[in-house]
């Protein structure tokens, strides 16, 4: 869960008379408030706000006051809020020790107003990315053999580590990565315990593991750069972004960007697209296996599309309606981020309520995506919701797996293309079946970065 997942922009609004304070949700314990409930049953906690308080209610995370806005109308007010009024940067304290200080939010408001800062997400780059993703999926399948069992979290975490690094950082750089990288990265992601709202540096095992993982990542990157410098790759034609960053010197000859800071940049570039895409890929496969009728429709669609031998990289940029709808429905039911937040910089007014500066405001995609007034029979997996005529995802401020407004996930189009390329490649080669009870697959919500809980195994055999 990071602000790196959403994009910056904005404009302030006029002064308004002060309204009433939103009600505090019941069962706020001394000191911790609702923090323990957040760590154990976050989605139930958000529903308690909507059911008990209505469209606006206050939560207490160890003294951090978060006003949750629910319903299309209140959520639109949140998503249309200006950067000057609603600041993303300060809202995610559990991310600071992961990225390191001064890495992600060092852009000026003026820079933030500019378009896509990460040019590699521009539309014109997508064709090349699609080729890379199809190739990486082939490489992950190579050691699988004819049949066996695999762990969805491990498989897709490793795959998306390779695809993200190859597309967003560099193809040479990706060749330096080994499976240790994704294990270390996973430790970092697990270090996002909501106890960070008390203090992100508490002497707890989960935070010590996080900090150890980050130190190991610095070591691994240092080794990569040493290797590349020794082989001459860092200076020649194969030079990439990180080689350039490392070679920049201050006037006194010292490196402009210390390795720790470059590690932070690497982590922040990888973070937004990693656990999110990995989790969505795993859940898409689980849902297609749990709902075999839709699984067969997607399988038939892919077989028909690729029967003429066309390239995945070509088709992944075009329409694959059954698969796209299956992915959208997976994202609705299992959004990778369950709580989006901003810090209020000056009083935020909504209807007769006022949230004063200093508090946080939040919106929950996990709640919003299952509001029955927007999504009939909300718990049912039904990709036909997105068919022509229904188009339930056209509710821009209710269907919000990627957020909404100017901070909407900039990687959304890249993620959809990536998932289409992965499944086009994977499902042509292998057939899958569940290796556990259908209802046993679940998310681990104990960390702010949601991950699939283990065990999460499936069986496969070559088609």
């Amino acid at each position: 869960m990071s602000a790196a997942l959403e994009t910056p922009g904005a404009a302030p609004s006029a002064a308004q008379p002060r309204g009433v304070a939103p009600p505090l949700l019941s069962r706020s314990w001394p000191v911790f408030g609702h923090l323990q409930e957040l760590r154990r049953r976050p989605i139930e906690l958000f529903w308690r706000v909507r059911n008990e308080c209505g469209e606006i209610g206050e939560l207490n995370f160890a003294g951090n006051r978060v006003v949750l806005l629910t319903g299309s109308e209140a959520q639109e007010a949140f998503f249309r809020g200006s950067d000057e009024q609603l600041d993303q940067a300060a809202a995610y304290p559990f991310m600071t020790p992961v990225f390191g200080r001064g890495v992600v939010f060092d852009a000026t408001p003026e820079q933030r107003k500019q378009g896509l800062r990460n040019q590699s997400l521009r539309d014109s780059f997508m064709r090349g990315h699609a080729e890379v993703i199809a190739r990486e999926t082939e490489r992950m399948m190579a050691p699988l053999g004819d049949a066996g069992e695999l762990d969805l979290l491990d498989f897709f975490s490793e795959l998306t580590m390779y695809t993200s690094s190859a597309c967003l950082i560099g193809k040479q750089f990706r060749e330096e990565l080994t499976s240790e990288w994704f294990r270390v990265f996973y430790e970092l992601e697990k270090g996002t315990d909501a106890l960070a709202y008390v203090n992100p540096y508490l002497p707890l095992p989960v935070f010590r593991q996080r900090d150890r993982a980050r130190r190991r990542m610095v070591e691994l990157l240092t080794e990569v750069f040493a290797r590349r410098a020794a082989s001459g790759a860092a200076a020649g034609e194969k030079r990439e972004l990180f080689d350039v960053l490392l070679s920049i010197r201050n006037p006194d000859g010292t490196p402009r960007f210390p390795i720790d800071q470059i590690t932070g940049m690497f982590i922040s570039m990888m973070f937004a697209g990693h656990h999110t895409t990995s989790g969505t890929a795993a859940w898409t496969l689980i849902e297609l296996l749990r709902n075999p009728g839709f699984g067969a429709r997607v399988g038939g669609e892919l077989d028909a599309l690729y029967s003429d031998g066309r390239e995945v990289s070509h088709q992944a940029l075009r329409e694959i309606p059954e698969l796209e709808n299956a992915i959208k429905e997976t994202l609705r039911l299992h959004p990778p981020l369950i709580l989006l937040m901003r810090r209020v910089e000056f009083d935020f007014h909504y209807k007769g309520w006022t949230v004063p500066a200093g508090k946080l405001v939040g919106v929950s995609p996990a709640l919003s995506n299952r509001m029955p007034e927007c999504f009939p029979d909300p718990d049912r997996y039904d990709p036909d919701r997105y068919a022509e005529g229904r188009e339930e995802d056209a509710q821009l401020f209710a269907w919000i797996p990627f957020g909404a407004g100017r901070h909407r996930c900039v990687g959304a189009a890249f993620a959809m293309m990536q998932l289409k390329a992965i499944f086009s490649t994977l499902l042509q080669r292998y057939a899958f079946e569940l290796a556990q009870q259908p209802e046993s697959y679940r998310n681990d919500h104990s960390r702010m970065v949601v991950q699939l809980a283990k065990p999460c195994r499936v069986r496969y055999r070559r088609r």
Partner: protein, 64 residues
Amino acid sequence: MKIHVDMDLCQGHGACVAEAPSVFALDRDGRLVVLNESPDEPLRDAVKAAVKYCPTRALRLEPN
């Protein structure tokens, strides 16, 4: 037809530029520029594709 852009939603992905390069462009800072707000009938299909493939659904087409 007239093109309406919700600048609260546009992020400068450039999908519209790929679909209808004579109608849309990105400036040096990556911001969207509409070159022709009321394109002629022959451009209708390209502009409709731009509206459809906008990743943030920031574009709307209105009748004149």
